[in-house]
């Protein structure tokens, strides 16, 4: 039997934490833009960003592998300019996770922002406040439940990622072997006992996360 190793979990959580932070920073302005616009390109962007929800992770992983490899123009450029290699590295699976978990952050934020009454925005504008000030002081404080949902679901979803990470990152210890991949390897090695340990930890984690989301949402609704 293999030794129990915390590293895959720490790697999973590190990946999930950085993904969540990056996605929050990118999603807030995009969600704000999408919630305000009536542009014809809106459905196009929405569909594009939501693709990871319906696509098999292998499809996404396959193309990311091709685009990020050092034989693709982008990969070559990155390698020559910054000597960065994105395939089979932590940075590579970080980019993959960001793309893969994007809709899970964007959608709650956007729907939260769309539900803020237009009157509140207008009230802020006539009080002389810019769009940015309105976003920071009126919109974000009023969509706390949506922010919470987005952050927690994105984090949990990234921890639960498997296919994309495997395609882009493989299974390199300390670099890309996250918890879900470690379990896959343990099963392949027929070490069911350790696979149980890892799996039960993930089950306990997922359940607690979802419990927290629902408890907080109920509390928000109750105090609404």
């Amino acid at each position: 039997m293999n030794q129990f190793d915390m590293e895959p979990f720490l790697l999973s959580f590190r990946l999930a934490a950085i993904t969540t932070i990056l996605l929050f920073i990118f999603s807030v302005p995009l969600a704000w833009k999408l919630s305000q616009t009536r542009s014809k390109s809106k459905p196009f962007i929405e569909a594009l960003v939501s693709m990871p929800i319906v696509l098999p992770p292998t499809v996404l992983g396959f193309y990311l592998l091709i685009f990020l490899s050092d034989r693709s123009p982008l990969g070559m450029f990155l390698k020559e300019m910054f000597s960065v290699n994105l395939v089979f590295t932590f940075e590579g699976i970080l980019i993959a996770s960001c793309i893969y978990s994007f809709p899970f952050m964007l959608q709650p934020l956007q729907s939260g922002m769309e539900q803020v009454p237009v009157k509140l925005l207008e009230a802020s504008y006539v009080l002389g406040k810019s769009k940015l000030e309105t976003l920071m002081h009126v919109i974000l404080p009023n969509i706390k439940p949506s922010i919470l949902t987005g952050v927690i679901i994105t984090f949990a979803h990234t921890v639960g990622e498997f296919g994309v990470v495997l395609m882009v990152g493989g299974s390199i210890q300390g670099e890309t072997r996250v918890a879900s991949i470690a379990i896959y390897e343990l099963v392949e090695l027929l070490d069911y006992k350790m696979a149980h340990v890892y799996s039960l930890i993930l089950i306990a984690f997922s359940f607690s996360v979802l419990m927290v989301v629902y408890i907080l949402n109920h509390r928000n609704r109750a105090s609404g």
Binding site: P117, E122, L127, P141
Partner: protein, 301 residues
Amino acid sequence: MVVSSLKKKLMGADGDFLLQTNVEIARGGITAIAGPSGSGKTTFLRMISGLTSPDEGLLEVDGEVWFQRETGKKTQLNLKPQQRRVGVVFQGYALFPHMSVLGNLLYASRNSDMAEKLLDMIGLQQLKHVKPPNLSGGQKQRVALARALMQQPRILLLDEPLSALDEGMKALLQDELLRVNSELGVTILIVTHDSSEMYKLCDRVLLFEKGQIVADTSPRKLFVERETTQKFAFKGEILEIRAVDAVYVAVIAIGNNLVEVVIDSDEKENLQAGDIVVVGTKAFNPTVRKFEEQEFDFSRL
């Protein structure tokens, strides 16, 4: 002074119509904007605050151009709502629910002396740390008014500010508005359907209909000095006509009230249940007659 010659095409229930507002409003008065719903009243206020862009025309406030676009040309000037310093009290108040009463005022302007002064004026010192969802309708209305005054606006726009309040609260807030107007000298435009409110508050009434200003007069002229022989007249609907001995009794709904009016057989001849009628008095007895389309209809307000 507000000089407006703005135009905007609006979509109405029975087709598009053109909103045209050629009007000058002197500094410091209270002007009522009245008219049936969908006649462009709210849009007029929104064009002044900058929340809705006119199609063309000119808007000038105290000698400063806020919007200018000549027919067929590009917009020369269109100040953003942020640049206009207009106080707006929205229908439904639009208070920020996550900020306390004081927070709402300070968001408008970081002037805490001003905030304290306004809190005193509206009598909400005690409640300054309470959040809007815990306030009553009248209290929310006062907070909205105080917030709009925080940036010392040149114009104060109110969109049916008192319609959701009971009579006692209405009267209180009307006094407050009069005080704001006389103490701060701010020009007030108020959308209202309430004729007593217009009479009490306003020195001028602009009556909108289908986007046109069809009357521009004082409330007194509009309501009291009309050319009429009747002392009072109400529009209502006949619900039922009953025969009682030699006469008839009509049950008429006037607003929310049901009244019984005795009518004679001549009157009964051309009346039936469902008719829209005018109940008025000549001499002593109420009279009931059919409502004529060309009559001035106060229910349009």
